[in-house]
Symmetry: C2
Subunit: 189 residues, 2 copies
């Protein structure tokens, strides 16, 4: 396939932007797949800050990173990603959001626009120019529809001098396929 599937496309961007020693944030740790990917990219001298409000998610993610021998590169916070400014230093190169619910977890615990939009703004503020903020949106459940619309509205109104906002989505899939926003920070307004 010449056209990259969504996850492969995100990972290409993250691979291009992240180098040994960089700082990255996984704003929605979940089962830790993205956290592990980020930890591998930032190397031994880099750091990944991971957020989730479910302890079982963080435990699962930590186990995944331990198994891969890279747990010391990550710091996990049982906190809302909307609070990331309190825990993450400025100078972040990449932040990933994978919205919705924890696969295999409690389906009633979902991200919602009330915290997601402030968290996205915090992430954008923490990024260095040239840094990447990736957001996977799922509109297939009711809260996801409301949340996706709020995120799309927020991103639509970002000033073009502040960020490039790319929408990357497959247009002929059924049942509300995910939408990716890839946001590249330009300057600070």
């Amino acid at each position: 396939m010449v056209i990259k599937p969504m996850l492969a496309y995100v990972r290409t961007l993250l691979t291009e932007v992240l180098n040994e020693g960089d700082v990255a944030v996984d704003a929605t740790v979940g089962n830790g797949h993205d956290t592990l990917f980020l930890a591998q990219l930032v190397g031994e001298s880099g750091r990944v800050y991971g957020f989730d409000i479910q302890a079982e998610a963080l435990a699962s993610a930590r186990a995944r990173l331990e198994e891969a021998g890279v747990a010391e590169r990550a710091a996990f916070f049982l906190e809302s990603h909307a609070e990331m400014r309190e825990f993450v230093p400025a100078g972040v190169k990449a932040v990933t959001f994978n919205l919705g619910y924890l696969p295999g977890g409690d389906l009633s615990v979902v991200t919602t626009e009330a915290s997601t939009v402030p968290a996205l703004q915090a992430a954008l503020d923490l990024l260095v120019p040239g840094g990447i903020l990736s957001v996977m949106l799922y509109a297939g459940h009711d809260e996801g529809k409301v949340e996706s619309e709020a995120v799309l509205d927020w991103a639509h109104h970002l000033h073009k001098k502040e960020a490039h906002v790319l929408m990357y989505r497959f247009w002929n899939q059924k049942n509300s396929p995910p939408i990716l926003l890839a946001i590249e920070k330009r300057g600070r307004l």
Copy 2:
């Protein structure tokens, strides 16, 4: 910029898919920029079929390819791209559409959905599996808005087993920025 601008992204796909000796189609020759790019990719043993309904466009494009020393790789047709089946053999690896009007030309001569949608279907039929059909949509003028909606509707209804349809667009630009559809042929239904 890590996120590729639209034209650079299209050219990356075309570069990946086209090799020496391949056949490509520029369905909207215009001033011939895409025709030249395709001719360079298919090499001396390849072939580019170019369509435009304005003779001045074809003359300008042919001059551009002559200047680059690659005019013998292209065949130009003063015909609607909706007729491409009559002139192009099967086995095409890539087709490009850049809809709207000829830059610097007669603004009253625009592509319209009546011919564009049949032309897109013909292009998809001519492609080999793995081939790429790229479509740049401009909704900034009245006919463009109607045409874009028709094309988006056509693409939305392509069966996922027939093609992957990627939408690639910048989400925070003003004044109806272009939308790219990158369509990768899978099988023939």
